[in-house]
């Protein structure tokens, strides 16, 4: 079986600045990996490169056996910044169906509506189906975007700081959701996070990225080293058993 994601000597330069330098690692099918590291370490850039949104200067990223950007509906993506047009008349059902169809639904048919409802049910958000997107709270928004990412039954999820801007209770609930989703045997995931509790709970492997791969392995081997203290929220890091604290 091929890897879900394989990066080989990936280098990305943007605006004359080298963001990623000779990055190599793999994520196996069905594996939940966390991508950690300090701000500016290239985590979001790596996800966007894997999606084909950012060009590689050299190297290659293979996603589900295809080159980056060519895996289409088999990859579910939850962006960090929700950069949608806030004036656009978007309902939750429209947003989810748009990812299913690859076009905005002028009318939502019964099959599309049922698919959107089922995706929302997986994240406990059925009641949001006809809500306007711009009226949602931070936690509701993350659920909707996770449902959107799941609607095509992807083989790989790319999640970019999905609990950023969500309160402690919402983060705990969202981690429960991710744990449930990750329990599916054939679904691989790459989660960008600064939350050490999320890493300890979800990750089989951790990639610590600071422009280049500093470390890559099981959480017990990667976490707690001297050089990773900047990457995690202080309270979580100092006291791993404490309740979830601030995420970024």
């Amino acid at each position: 079986m091929s890897d879900a994601l394989r990066a080989r000597a990936v280098t990305v330069e943007l605006g004359g600045r080298r963001i990623l330098d000779d990055v190599s690692f793999e994520v196996l099918r069905g594996e939940f990996a966390c991508l950690c590291g300090p701000n500016g370490g290239g985590k979001t850039t790596f996800l966007k490169a894997a999606l084909g949104l950012v060009p590689l200067s050299s190297g290659e990223i293979e996603v589900l056996g295809a080159r980056s950007g060519a895996s289409g509906r088999a990859v579910g993506y939850l962006p960090q910044a929700k950069a949608f047009n806030p004036t656009f008349p978007a309902r939750v059902v429209d947003v989810i169906v748009a990812n299913r169809r690859g076009a905005w639904p002028v009318r939502v048919g019964s099959a599309d509506r049922e698919a959107a409802r089922a995706a929302l049910a997986r994240v406990g958000g059925e009641r949001l189906l006809d809500a306007l997107l711009r009226g949602l709270s931070g936690g509701e928004m993350q659920r909707v975007y996770l449902a959107r990412a799941l609607v095509n039954d992807p083989a790989l999820l790319l999640l970019d700081e999905p609990t950023a801007g969500v309160d402690a209770r919402g983060r705990a609930e969202f981690l429960d959701l991710l744990a449930g989703v990750a329990a599916r045997e054939d679904l691989a995931a790459v989660l960008v996070t600064h939350n050490v509790a999320a890493v300890r709970r979800l990750a089989k492997r951790v990639v610590y990225l600071d422009g280049h791969v500093q470390a890559w392995g099981p959480p017990a081997e990667v976490l707690g080293r001297e050089w990773d203290r900047d990457a995690f929220s202080g309270h979580d890091h100092a006291a791993p058993d404490a309740p979830l604290c601030e995420d970024e």
Partner: protein, 277 residues
């Protein structure tokens, strides 16, 4: 009741009124549909800028010796080129859409004034006021055919690309990931807007043509909850407002283009009052 209706519709007995109605309805429908995307993208000033660019194109045609009708064939590619230039600057620089529009519109309008001044003193005088304020009741059969063709083209293309263009309008990055050719659709949207604006200048003039694109869509956006609903409402308001304005101006013996725009404006302010909080 029937007699009143007959009296109100009596202007239709005259050919020039039928041509004006046909041109106004076609332009109103195409402009209102385009406007849904223009308004949602916050490009309300774009059509105004393109109308001023059209003045430059018409003046260039007149400099080449064309009639005002003939100059439209120079204004069409000229304005489409300006629209594509605006979109290029928007995509390739950090300047906002309004800045790019402002630069191109001022340069095109200034060039138009220069072109008119460069015409031979023996050339046929041009009614600049007619260019600025339009003459819907003077639409020729040939102009009507062009307007109908452009409106049909714009509506057909929008029916084809509309759902993908809407996705790109909602979130270009997510649309790109779904395989939507975002950049190409954005260029196409601006080119279609240029086409409608150029033929619209013939009916309501440079100053007022953008109202056909912006006002019905803005009104519908205040009232509608889904994109499909907004599109239907925008076209309906535009068609009804255009017909009402045309007949009202005829019976009141006032300027037709201005009456249509004021009618559309009245629906906008009514929607402001009626919209859901």
């Amino acid at each position: 009741m029937g007699e009143i209706l007959d009296a109100l519709l009596s202007p239709l007995a005259q050919g020039f009124v039928r041509r004006a109605l046909g041109a106004g309805l076609a332009l109103g429908a195409a402009g209102a549909l385009l406007g849904v995307f223009i308004v949602q993208r916050g490009l309300g000033l774009l059509s105004d800028g393109l109308a001023h660019a059209t003045f430059g194109g018409l003046a260039l045609g007149l400099l080449f010796g064309a009639t005002v009708d003939g100059a439209m064939w120079v204004a069409l590619p000229f304005t489409v080129a300006i629209a594509l230039g605006i979109q290029y600057v928007r995509r390739r620089t950090t300047l906002g859409g309004d800045v790019a529009t402002g630069v191109f519109f001022a340069v095109s309008f200034a060039a138009g004034i220069l072109f008119l001044g460069l015409r031979s003193p023996r050339s046929v005088p041009v009614n600049v006021e007619g260019l600025l304020f339009g003459s819907l009741l003077a639409v020729s059969p040939e102009s009507l055919r062009v307007i109908l063709a452009v409106a049909a083209l714009v509506i057909a293309v929008l029916a084809w690309i509309g759902p993908r263009l809407a996705y790109a309008t909602f979130d270009p990055e997510l649309a790109t990931l779904s395989g939507v050719p975002v950049a190409a659709l954005e260029y196409l949207l601006l080119a279609l807007t240029a086409l409608v604006v150029v033929v619209g200048v013939k009916t309501v003039g440079v100053v007022l043509v953008s109202a056909f694109v912006v006002i019905p869509a803005a009104t519908a956006s205040l009232l509608g909850r889904t994109l499909g609903g907004i599109a239907i409402l925008s076209v309906t308001l535009s068609v009804l407002g255009t017909a009402f304005g045309l007949f009202a101006s005829y019976h009141l013996n006032v300027a037709t283009g201005a009456t249509i725009i004021l009618t559309l404006g009245a629906t906008f302010f009514l929607a402001l009052v009626l919209r859901r909080r």
